[in-house]
Symmetry: C2
Subunit: 144 residues, 2 copies
């Protein structure tokens, strides 16, 4: 299974860019992950077009909040399906996703009930995916 | 009102240390904030002792999840009380807080239903406090 993280706009906050890079690097040992930053024009169309044919998980405040155990179960279930080749995580810009966009996604996850700076949300998402894969492998959580 | 963030152990992750510094710097324009990293021995005692006399808000997965609007309301209410001089945010180490510890806190907040690396949780908390103060001041959210 391939994973794709599609986000709007390259991170401008130095710490967030560093955090994203940190977890992307760690995740390479576990999974094939591609991160694409799309231009902030026609966001929805760009995210849908780039994720065509993949299982779409949108990140949105109005989505379902999961525990880490529940996310691990979700990912495990997706990986056990024979019909999926790729999972895309779709993160919108500062204004989130429209209802029409959310309708075209397979799952909507919410990372928190609080509004979070969207570049920080990318770090939180990647840390969580990293955490899920260390759990799936039965490994201790590696900090380095 | 003074704010204190008490956490266990200095951040080891470079991106988290940078994120904490980033938001601490921005917050200086809004509020008096002191960040103290305590040693990871007798965590609970150290956190309680250092926060003595202040209003204690512990961060813990078993706490209440708030929206940003709700957090803004909480902070506004605390600031309008005449009897409080300081609010302390208490963040435990990787294992969270004990029940006995939580009993001695005034509020328990949960940042997410997911388990989050605790240094990353500090960044998320500070970003949120920063967001609350920009909202209270009626200012647009500043990124720089």
């Amino acid at each position: 299974m391939k994973y794709r993280l599609l986000a709007i706009g390259k991170p401008k906050l130095d710490y967030a860019a560093a955090g994203i890079q940190d977890y992307a690097k760690r995740l390479k040992h576990y999974v094939q992950l591609e991160i694409d930053y799309l231009k902030d024009r026609n966001e929805s169309e760009a995210l849908l077009s780039r994720s065509k044919g993949s299982y779409r998980i949108a990140l949105d405040e109005r989505g379902t909040q999961h525990s880490t155990a529940s996310l691990t179960k979700q990912i495990t279930q997706l990986e056990s399906r024979g019909d999926l080749k790729a999972v895309s995580f779709l993160v919108g810009g500062a204004d989130g996703h429209s209802a029409a966009f959310r309708d075209q996604c397979d799952q909507i996850w919410s990372l928190s009930s609080m509004t979070m700076q969207h570049e920080l949300a990318l770090v939180v998402l990647l840390e969580q995916i990293y955490r899920v894969f260390t759990i799936k492998r039965g490994e201790p959580y590696h900090r380095e």
